[in-house]
Assembly symmetry: C2
Homo-oligomer: 451 residues x 2
């Protein structure tokens, strides 16, 4: 039982419905009370029949009857500004998509303003579909951080590095990385800075190691795409005579603050190597499906004890940021690939999208479950819908039948950011209009995938 005193004045009290704590110890609580104070969870307990709630004062009371109260979802990998390329080029061969559509569009249209506008739109979509923390990796990442601050969203913002001709000056790389971290570390409770190297095949050994050194010195997360496609594994094998994971281990990249994104084409030795080094994995099933990258051995990784979070990837390869849809795909994909319907049960998938995601990002002491002391990152999902009726099992209903649009209320750090599906801190019409103007320029300058 939490420490509840009589004279507490809560900022928010949520009552009723069913609480999925996603905490190992606490499980599911029917008819709960969740108290929020100073941005954090004060208590999460079952409501006594004698009307315990009346002994607390709350500035705001939210009635969650017929709803699920649960931790907000954690999207462990995305590239928010790519929302501007949503649907620009689909159903194409991977290299055609990348070299003739995405890279040219990025080279021409990515700038601070585009990154900010795209991030604002993406954050709006994420809040509306129940995400309360995202981990982004892109360029001009300070603009992503500013969008998160302006929309009251929690964000792990990863300044990205790739060895393009103008960017492989080691001195400059160190400057950019250190300045970015100094600018954001411990400045705003919503923003956790991080660094990202695009991949072993697009970054030199020097760049990979240099960025990891800085991340280690600053004690922050290091993101890297690893073995997304068969082709890139072959490239690394040819260049270095070994697979990507041993290559990364040999250059001292792997540790408990390394997040390997995708991790599709790993052999058993590589999975063991990730586990030994306590590396975390971000699984992006819909992107891997749509781009035909392949299917990561997630059930095996989880069995071996690797922490696996869920991510949507960017909107050019998904094409949405709805973590509920992503959960449905994660639950179903592995079953059909392995022809085993018991893999990736609903509770495991919901853990991936909440507490395991927080662990993957190294922030599970702060968020990812409903426990006293953690940030109040909470969503209320309305289960009184025809497609969520009847209701036998909350985990199953959320993973297999719910959509992002069933989220009624989102709270981040004790701040209500959406209520009754209305965004509180985002001016949606003007953000959508800004992105439409950017998209008009993009469409006029590239080959959109017409039919």
């Amino acid at each position: 039982m939490e420490n509840i005193s009589d004279d507490i004045v809560l900022d928010i009290l949520i009552e009723g419905g069913t609480l999925l704590t996603m905490s190992d110890g606490m499980g599911v609580i029917d008819n709960p009370m969740v108290g929020i104070k100073d941005g954090r969870i004060a208590f999460a307990v079952q409501k006594n029949d004698d009307g315990d709630a009346r002994t607390y004062t709350a500035k705001k009371v939210l009635n969650a009857s017929g709803s699920v109260i649960m931790p907000g979802l954690i999207n462990t990998h995305t590239h928010l500004p790519m929302v501007c390329f949503r649907g620009l080029a689909d159903d194409l061969p991977l290299m055609d998509w990348l070299n003739n559509h995405i890279f040219p569009a990025e080279a021409r249209f990515v700038n601070r303003d585009m990154v900010y506008a795209g991030s604002m739109l993406a954050i709006a979509e994420m809040i509306l579909s129940g995400t309360t923390t995202f981990c982004d990796a892109y360029f001009y990442e300070s603009s992503v951080a500013r969008a998160a601050v302006d929309s009251c969203m929690r964000a792990v913002v990863s300044q990205g590095f790739i060895d393009l001709p103008h960017q492989n000056d080691p001195v400059k790389i160190v400057d950019i990385a250190e300045n970015f971290i100094d600018k954001w570390q411990d400045k705003n409770p919503l923003i956790i800075p991080s660094l990202a190297c695009h991949s072993p095949y697009t970054c030199s050994t020097k760049t990979l190691a240099c960025i990891k050194d800085i991340a280690r010195k600053k004690n922050i997360l290091y993101n890297i795409h690893v073995s997304e496609t068969k082709e890139e594994v072959a490239i690394i094998k040819e260049r270095f005579g070994k697979n990507p994971v041993p290559y990364l281990r040999d250059i001292d990249i792997l540790d408990d603050l390394t997040l390997a994104v995708h991790a599709v084409w790993l052999d058993d030795d590589e999975i063991a190597m990730l586990r030994e080094n306590n590396v975390k994995v971000s699984h992006n099933p819909e992107s891997n499906m749509k781009l035909a990258a392949g299917c990561a051995h997630v059930p095996r990784m989880i069995k071996k004890g690797i922490t696996v979070g869920l991510g949507t990837d960017g909107c050019a390869s998904n094409n949405d940021l709805d973590m509920f849809r992503e959960m449905g795909s994660a639950a179903k994909l592995h079953k059909v690939i392995q022809l085993n319907p018991t893999l990736m049960d609903a509770k495991t998938v919901l853990r991936m999208a909440t507490i395991a995601g927080a662990k993957a990002l190294g922030i599970d002491d702060q968020t990812g479950s409903i426990e006293a002391g953690k940030y109040a990152d909470i969503i209320i999902v309305d289960m009184k819908k025809p497609h969520l009726t009847p209701l036998y099992n909350h985990y199953s209903q959320l993973v297999y039948a719910a959509s992002g649009s069933d989220v009624d209320t989102s709270i981040i750090g004790g701040n209500i950011v959406m209520h009754e599906r209305k965004l509180i801190h985002v001016d949606l019409p003007s953000i959508m209009q800004e992105v439409r103007i950017i998209a008009k320029a993009i469409a006029g300058n590239s080959f959109s995938g017409g039919y």
Copy 2:
């Protein structure tokens, strides 16, 4: 150009936005006018700049600016009453799921009232997610038909047969089948009766052939689950010394009014055999994924010229009836299975869910595309949403990013059944309550998949 006279008085005129006709000849029409009269499409044309609309009178005008106007979706395979078992038992081995959960629940709880209540709830969910025609197969199918009539939904209702001990009396089978057809054939434009045999492994040769004879005599559709799992293929091979498709051909089941559902484990010869006999296929990717049945060779079937429609299957194996989500899964699954991102492009998938679905059910002369003379089965999808912004390609946006909850208005046979997301002919709260009461009894009498 359609035949438009000046003195026409329309029931409904839809103006603005973008029209996806899903008709081969007409394609996409920007800024269209769609006129509806006497339940049918009177015309679908581009609006002239000089304000052609003013020369027609319409009792009701719907403004579709910023929206897509398109044919309602066609769900070619479902078992509506199983909505009562949604989430009852998930993530279990197939035979455990079927024998210890679904079959016992069906034996105990399926009756006329349950079938009607479940169908009403399922129809509500379908209308709210853009489906305007479904093909159902279950028991007490007249109750499904009545639910469709009462909710103004178009339905191919298939009385189902399976050789359970009390049901394999050939005389009784013939009576049930013929009475069912006589009761519904040509009685109500919304209802198209049909017959279904559960599968080659659960029905005797006699039953399969007898039901097909009746279907042929009455010129109606014959539904049958074919080769959903590897195991049932092995059973048929052991019993008859051949695969299911040649077995069905040899007993004269295959023709252009046969719908093979699932069709997962077919070899090349069987695919050729379906094509030769003009058999249609219903593809249910999410059910096949969740139950780990396997992945049908749909791209190959389409390449060979087989008509393939899309279906959700019943809610016990999906667990929703949202054809938008089903489209997303259909588009992505085959790409990752074949490691080819060009398979199942968005337009192909949208065809599967509309005109190809109508062809699969033998009703493409009446519905499945927006063409003058067809029933006005139309949905209006609101594209002014953050997750549908920006908009480069309508097909891609609908398949990869839209959800059922983006459908604003649904029209079936010229009858507005949903507007601004409000159902017109269904009393949703009382239907949901009825199903909750049924579910309470089911939960009290079975092992629900608890965690």
